[in-house]
């Protein structure tokens, strides 16, 4: 019974992690940017979806749509206001740009977090679920919303796979992640690719955020832990590897769920973080890393 419970609960949360980390890995793979405002963007999407319901009396679909729209636009704002000026700066030496962008995105994330706390308090927010009720799966009472979450995550990941492998624009993105200079030689504007990647990332982050808001709920305090979990998953999977991130999301998701059920919910994140440290020692490039 407990086995099935862990299997089902772990699958839902892992799928959510997978979706969140995919975008994070994609950005790093293509532009070498570690976006430490990741958690803040997710929380912004949740709060927007919540506010749509609470203040504008929007239905669950409209709320979710607004949440995704805010995730999308905040992501592009992050790129244009924070990342791009630093990438193009002539005053910062090339080899120092990564650390500048790292710091800038971290501070940007904190700014968003504080703004949310100021405007909407630091109380937790949840998004009205699109599907309600429970279903019984092998004797486990499972919220329908949990199944919905897993299905949407995999649909979106599937669409992303199609986009990257089957469309011209997607192929350019894939090529850019393999060899940025080669892509420019083919006459593709690298900055166009970056914008495309940040746009895709924004949609992924918005969807992941809204689903998380329906599933567990977040507060402005969640910004740090959400960034940390995406970061841990991506390091475990291998920096820049999307398929590595997908596998790592399930490793981390199940490890957390098992800890919560078998030891204590208070220690939920600890074993996964220890695993990341261990991977850094033993296999620094992660499960499927190529750098």
């Amino acid at each position: 019974m407990l086995f099935w419970q862990i299997l089902i609960d772990g699958f839902a949360i892992s799928s959510l992690y997978a979706l969140g980390a995919t975008g994070f890995a994609l950005i790093f793979g293509v532009s070498g940017v570690l976006n430490l405002s990741h958690g803040a963007l997710m929380v912004a999407a949740v709060v927007a979806a919540w506010a749509a319901g609470a203040h504008l009396h929007a239905g669950p679909y409209a709320g979710a749509a607004l949440g995704v729209a805010i995730g999308f636009s905040t992501s592009l704002l992050t790129y244009f206001v924070i990342v791009r000026p630093l990438q193009h700066s002539r005053k910062i030496r090339e080899e120092e740009k990564e650390i500048f962008i790292l710091t800038a995105t971290l501070l940007w994330g904190i700014m968003i977090q504080e703004l949310i706390a100021y405007l909407y308090t630091n109380n937790a927010k949840t998004v009205a679920p699109i599907v309600e009720g429970v279903v019984w799966i092998v004797g486990v009472r499972t919220p329908s919303n949990e199944i919905f979450t897993a299905v949407v995550c995999w649909l979106v990941i599937g669409l992303l796979w199609l986009l990257v492998n089957r469309t011209r624009a997607g192929k350019a993105v894939l090529a850019a992640s393999m060899n940025p200079r080669g892509v420019t030689l083919l006459g593709i504007e690298l900055s166009q690719v970056y914008i495309a990647v940040w746009a895709i990332y924004g949609v992924l982050v918005g969807i992941a955020g809204v689903l998380l808001g329906m599933f567990l709920g977040v507060s402005s305090y969640s910004v740090g832990p959400l960034t940390a979990s995406a970061f841990a998953i991506v390091v475990l999977g291998g920096l820049g590897s999307v398929s590595g991130a997908l596998i790592a999301a399930y490793v981390v998701g199940y490890l957390e769920t098992m800890t919560a059920y078998l030891i204590s919910p208070a220690y939920r994140t600890i074993p996964a973080l220890l695993l990341v440290v261990a991977v850094m020692y033993v296999r620094p490039r992660g499960l499927l890393g190529r750098r």
Partner: protein
């Protein structure tokens, strides 16, 4: 030589100044007492969390009370003036505000904060600066325990809200009627967040629940960082209790929403501070339906004849309902004014003596403080003749009061997925 000259020219001035100052001070000292008793306003400092949902009501409610008292002629002809300070929920900022209130703004009393940690930081300062301080919303028992330990220094602090222990007792009192008598419940699991205020709360729960006939089969302390409550509810459900007795304040939305989405069939009953806010239905998208929570006040509950007129006046002036510490802050201004009237003075020691003899019917009940020889001096007296507390339940977007029976305005009602008595 030059130096000497300078000193020589200065010294007559220096000699003259103190003489003037002494004269001035003497003149002021002789003049002010008679003047103060007739014209000077009585100043009450309010140090509160102006940006937090609960704290924002404190200065507003205090101002409302002051304006009402002033409109009725003030206290012995003196007006009441509220001096407000925003502490940004920080203990350090509160201490600075308290120092400023006492030393520069010369307030006669302070109403401070709903956060126990903040009030505990201010308590020694109330003693050092000999300034009366009353908290409208903190719960920790340590506040009054400190007064018992060192009455001479800490007697300036008064606890204007229930202690955690009395909150637990209030929950048990209502559970005896609502759960044991009416629903024949026999077993409970205590689920509290891991925080300072829940330590005495849980200790009292574990004592008083068995006394009313509810056997405690497990006691779970939840980390305030918990995001996924599924494993906790899962464990509790496996133990088959009739009810979950809660002690949650910092966590609130997430356990409430997740219990609904997982359709946990066991009712939740106890302290859920956020549920007392009128916005909690929206915050949880209605998942709070059926949740029961202890409070000292509620919308449409006429605890005393003063309650509803206060709520109406607050709503009319500020556009929303007061939080729980709005009621207490409003009462506090009234009984501080009453104590000053009885003492005939704003002298802090006389004010303490007068406040100790407070017998005032406010918006949450009849306010009387426990004596200095009790374990909790200056804590509110709790009981049928003073303050009983209430037990409310969220039903279809409304906070309905179920207990005590004489002020109840509804009947216990659960959403479909909650199976009362399914455990037996």
């Amino acid at each position: 030589m030059n130096k000497f000259k300078k000193r020589a020219t200065c010294s007559p001035m220096l000699a003259v100044l103190p003489a003037n100052a002494v004269f001035l001070a003497l003149a002021l000292a002789l003049a002010t007492p008679t003047y103060a008793q007739t014209k000077d306003p009585i100043k009450i400092g309010v140090i509160a969390e102006a940006q937090a949902v609960a704290g924002s009501s404190i200065p507003l409610a205090a101002q409302l009370a002051a304006d009402e008292i002033n409109a009725a002629g003030g206290v012995n002809g003196r007006k009441i003036e509220i001096v407000s300070y925003d502490n940004h929920s920080s203990a350090a900022e509160s201490v600075r505000a308290f120092q400023r209130a006492a030393n520069e703004d010369h307030v006669n009393a302070v109403i401070a904060s709903y956060i126990s940690e903040v009030v505990l930081a201010l308590e020694p300062w109330a003693g050092r600066l000999k300034t009366v301080m009353i908290t409208p919303g903190a719960a920790s028992d340590v506040i009054t325990q400190n007064i018992a330990k060192d009455y001479k220094h800490n007697k300036y602090t008064f606890h204007g809200y229930l202690t955690s222990t009395s909150i637990a007792d209030s929950v048990c009192d209502s559970a005896k009627d609502l759960l044991v008598k009416d629903l024949k419940m026999k077993t409970a699991v205590v689920m509290s967040e891991d925080a300072a205020w829940t330590t005495p709360l849980d200790a009292e729960y574990l004592k008083c629940l068995p006394k009313i006939g509810l056997k405690v089969i497990d006691h779970i302390r939840v980390s305030p960082d918990t995001t996924d409550f599924t494993p906790i509810f899962n464990k509790i459900e496996g133990e088959k209790p009739d009810v979950i007795i809660t002690g949650i304040s910092h966590v609130g939305v997430q356990p409430t929403v997740q219990a609904k989405s997982q359709e946990v069939p066991i009712p939740m009953y106890g302290v859920s501070s956020q549920a007392s806010n009128s916005s909690f239905w929206q915050d949880t998208n209605g998942a709070v339906d059926g949740v029961l929570y202890q409070a000292v006040s509620g919308p449409d509950v006429a605890v005393t004849p003063k309650t509803l007129p206060f709520v109406a006046a607050f709503k009319k002036r500020f556009g929303n309902f007061p939080s729980y510490c709005g009621y207490t802050a409003y009462d506090e201004v009234y009984y501080i004014a009453d104590a000053i009237k009885r003492a005939g003075s704003t002298d802090p020691d006389k004010l303490v003596d007068a406040l100790e003899k407070t017998d005032y019917v406010g918006t949450i009940g009849r306010v009387q403080f426990q004596g200095k020889d009790t374990p909790y001096p200056h804590a509110l007296k709790i009981g049928a003749s003073t303050i009983t507390g209430l037990m409310l339940q969220w039903q279809n977007g409304k906070q309905v009061n179920l207990w005590p029976a004489k002020v109840a305005n509804g009947k216990l009602k659960f959403p479909k997925f909650i199976k009362v008595g399914s455990a037996n």
